[in-house]
Assembly symmetry: C2
Homo-oligomer: 345 residues x 2
């Protein structure tokens, strides 16, 4: 049933009845239902670690918005904590990690066993699959090695990326060791998610957009390639997202992923023209268009659809949905995509 | 004398003895001498408004670093305050403005008379020119209308640009009115700087990089064009900087500016190839390379020089220098550019 879903068919560039759509951060703070579940969980990490609650928030947008895919509710730093990096979430500030900044710190890290050390994630996957009962496919995810490295080295969400770049420029060899440990971790983590039941995976290399094209090639792309190669046997589509992807769309396509998730800065038509290869495209509405009045929003949705390739388009935002977005706008968006994206029979 | 300077010659794509170099935010917090002057001034705005002190910090990098151009020390929000938007700088937070968010707020703004309302800036220009005594040319600057609009609408440095984009999408007509008032303000402000003695101007459209290519064309480019056309009679080179310029290098070139200041994400070779027109390029070392050991820094400087066009290159960073940069690295950078950039006689 879900094998024939719009979402998975579009990932494989097969024909669909209408354009599938999901929303990055669709299970999130903009939904009052999410905020209610989160309040019951206590803090953010507890929500990530309670499979029943993670399942609940994962399903909310499927039911409320009618999106064509669910995405596992979790945080990209979960495997990092399992590597031995103490993690906490500070209200109003975001993640705070004990930073890794030297070869000495590196030696304290280990590649975690997903079942033993992040079993709650796999339990959530199994529970969500059962609860979804084939309605829509479930996407798993992980941060990419470079993006995870920015959090680990900066000790949280980076503002200037100064420490991570100082390490990269100053001692590229030991920085590559960090990336290698992260790649190994991500591979095991994603494979375990697939084994538990996710039907596609998205790699978030969100912060790679602050790299020069050359550094992207040297320090971000190799990790993505390793992951793609390792997942080849799993036969689930792999989606790659980079915020600020414009300088290296060609490299992203060459990574071997099935789908490139394009940010809002370049049109899908331009991305297709530059990529010229058999990948599907995901995206790329400006998340801020959801604050526009309905007719303007519909106009923007029409633009994205008009710019998309005939086959192999999954509608999404160009970046995560803003916490202040009115939920009704997200509901309207999904309806618009399904209506305007309908294919001639 | 300065008319034949490396910097101005490179702006006009004429031959030079070696590559000229200056650094965005070269008069800034990374310099202990700047911090000392700033301490004497009291707060940041007082420093901007005291011509003698602004002159002092403008000259510091010329003397300490041997850069090939001075840039007026000021803040891009100075003309905004003069428009009638109350402004303060909060220590550790940055600028805080009384936000303009509606047509009603718009009516409270006026186009300031530069001499009457920002005379201290023009006094600083005259004083700096006198003190420079022809050693190097002086660059004036302004924020571009779109970038100034982000500060005005968000009420400070934007994190998500949500309010400005909500206005843009929701009521493009009144948002254009705001941009028009800003363009008029910037034109008078830059003309007054030229009359007072600046020998080149840089337009900072720093935050336009968060726009899609289409929105850049519709909401950022027109303001830049208006400014370029208005300054045509002044015969000073105009430099345009956008952080995240990769999606719209072609549009930036079509704006009519003399120099495009490229961020660090794309190579100058790629920028030249895409632009294919008679503009000079400024940039584009990754500011983080200044945290690297000297040999790695020199390697990166060599890369930028190797990627630059034969004529018409002004070396700079791809973004402002980080406050934590060791001043010795900036000194070393200038020496490296002058040594490695030397042209065959």
């Amino acid at each position: 049933m879900f094998e024939g879903s719009r979402f998975l068919r579009a990932c494989r560039r097969q024909t669909v009845d209408t354009t599938p759509v999901w929303i990055m951060r669709q299970a999130g703070r903009y939904l009052p239902q999410y905020r209610a579940t989160r309040a019951r969980a206590g803090d953010f990490l507890s929500l990530c670690k309670a499979p029943e609650l993670a399942c609940e928030v994962t399903l909310q947008p499927v039911e409320l918005l009618k999106v064509d895919a669910a995405i596992l509710f979790s945080d990209i730093l979960i495997p990092v904590e399992a590597m031995g990096v103490p993690l906490q979430f500070v209200e109003g500030e975001g993640p705070r990690l004990e930073p890794v900044r030297s070869e000495g710190d590196l030696r304290k890290l280990h590649v975690p066993d997903p079942a033993a050390e992040t079993g709650f994630v796999l339990d959530a996957v199994r529970l969500i699959r059962r609860e979804l009962d084939g309605r829509v496919p479930l996407i798993g995810f992980s941060g990419a090695p470079f993006t995870l490295a920015t959090y680990i080295v900066e000790g949280g969400s980076a503002k200037s990326f100064q420490k991570v770049l100082a390490w990269l420029y100053g001692d590229p060899e030991s920085f590559r060791q960090l990336l290698d440990v992260l790649a190994e971790t991500v591979i095991l983590y994603l494979k375990a998610q697939v084994d538990a039941g996710v039907q596609a995976v998205q790699i978030f290399d969100t912060w790679a957009g602050m790299l020069s094209r050359r550094l992207y090639r040297e320090f971000a792309l190799p990790g993505t390639r390793q992951i793609v190669q390792a997942l080849r046997g799993c036969s689930v589509p792999v989606i790659l997202y980079v915020n600020g992807c414009s300088p290296f769309l060609e490299e992203m396509a060459a990574s071997g992923v099935d789908v490139i998730s394009v940010d809002w800065r370049v049109s899908l038509a331009e991305a297709s023209e530059r990529i010229r290869s058999a990948v599907a495209l995901q995206g790329n509405l400006d998340p801020m268009a959801l604050f526009a009045p309905r007719p303007a929003l519909e106009h923007e949705v029409g633009r994205v659809l008009g710019s998309a390739p005939d086959r192999g388009h999954i509608f999404n935002l160009g970046h995560g949905i803003q916490p202040e977005t009115p939920p009704e706008a997200a509901v309207a968006l999904v309806e618009m995509v399904h209506r305007l994206g309908r294919k001639e029979p």
